[in-house]
Symmetry: C2
Subunit: 230 residues, 2 copies
Amino acid sequence: MNKELLHTKLVRELIAQIASGSFGDGARLPAERKLCKQYNLSRGTVRQAFYDLEKLGVIKIKAGSGAYVQRVSQKKLPTHLLPQDFANVSLSDIIYARKALETAAITLACEKITDIQIKELELLLQKMELSRENLLDFFKFDMEFHQLIIHSSGNMPLITAFASIAEYHKYSQVFSSIHEEEVDYAINYHRKMLTALKNRDPKNAAKAINRHLEHTEQSTNFTQSKEISA
Amino acid sequence: MNKELLHTKLVRELIAQIASGSFGDGARLPAERKLCKQYNLSRGTVRQAFYDLEKLGVIKIKAGSGAYVQRVSQKKLPTHLLPQDFANVSLSDIIYARKALETAAITLACEKITDIQIKELELLLQKMELSRENLLDFFKFDMEFHQLIIHSSGNMPLITAFASIAEYHKYSQVFSSIHEEEVDYAINYHRKMLTALKNRDPKNAAKAINRHLEHTEQSTNFTQSKEISA
DNA sequence: CGAATTGGTATATATATTATACCAATCATT
DNA sequence: AATGATTGGTATAATATATATACCAATTCG
């Protein structure tokens, strides 16, 4: 059994956030002291994480200024920072598993989703429409939309299982590039999901989410990753 | 972010093993020094885990002799030792998620399973038949059977997702009791799965695994858990 | 009985993390 | 341009975890 070091956990967390679009290229990460409060860590630990991230080439630290995201794409992360055997996972593997889980979840969600959650989904859909130009934002909202559907199922094991897969998916976005033309298709499928959820129509909800995921799989370039030094 | 203490990890691991049938009531756990080697831990850490387990009433330590499993069933474990919000999870939630994942996995497995893996499944089925009288053993082999099917899918995200659910399932067995009469039904369904896998017949494989899980859900008493002090 | 194994105890060590404090570079505002 | 706030850079003492060793006492087993 290995000790799970706190600064390593934070490195993973920050990489996942960057990869999932919370911070774009050149963006400044929150100040060290902010992160201390946010994650309840001491500054030494946060600094250790930053040091690791700089060694990895993920950020560039500027004294007195801040830590800035540095060309994240086109890289391969060292295995010890990846969730599991990420190396052996293709995007289609991820999509296949997501289809299984999300179909089950949206079916349940049609029974259990609350009006508030439907409102939140509508809001997210609007945000997606407004983010057509900014792919990083777009995918962030996309993922939040899916996450909310899973939560609406009210089934903890499904939520847990999806979280473990989302981990894979986050990292996969570091390597993949999606074409702008696909944005409209994605919005369309999400609208269909939302409508089906409103109508408590599990059949069409499941159909929409499956089509969406299949489309995502086909239209995504999965760029081959290259090794970088740790 | 919280530190994941090594002895806590070991406590969880040992409870999971006990709950999943590796050690029955009154059985002796491996000696401290054995566990040190097995998990690559120092003795102090292992002893801390043993101390916690004794406080929990899970084991009774006898000087010079060993640590003995003590009436594990009928208890509720402190939340910090449980995988996630176990409190809010019913057996039917677990089964629902398992159906989603295992159906997807066995469908893939029909394509990808190797002859060696089929042989292993046959072996496990034989072991199940020989363990009709020993329910603890029986459920251990049952779970191994399912685990092997998931692995045969070759899909890492599915494997990861199932592992997180299996965690819930392991713990649920601390609280649930299954009737002996169900053993024969279970064996029957497993034989059907195996046959379908041999015939590369995803439809019947999926059908068998679904029926089996539905049957398990219906025939399991989920005993209400009671709080104990930490 | 006697050797081996087991848990019980003590201690020195290394490492990770926290908590403070102060400095120098940068930024933002006037 | 001046200044006050914020930021990263550095050092240090204190605490908590885990390792590694050694020795003791109770028990198990041949």
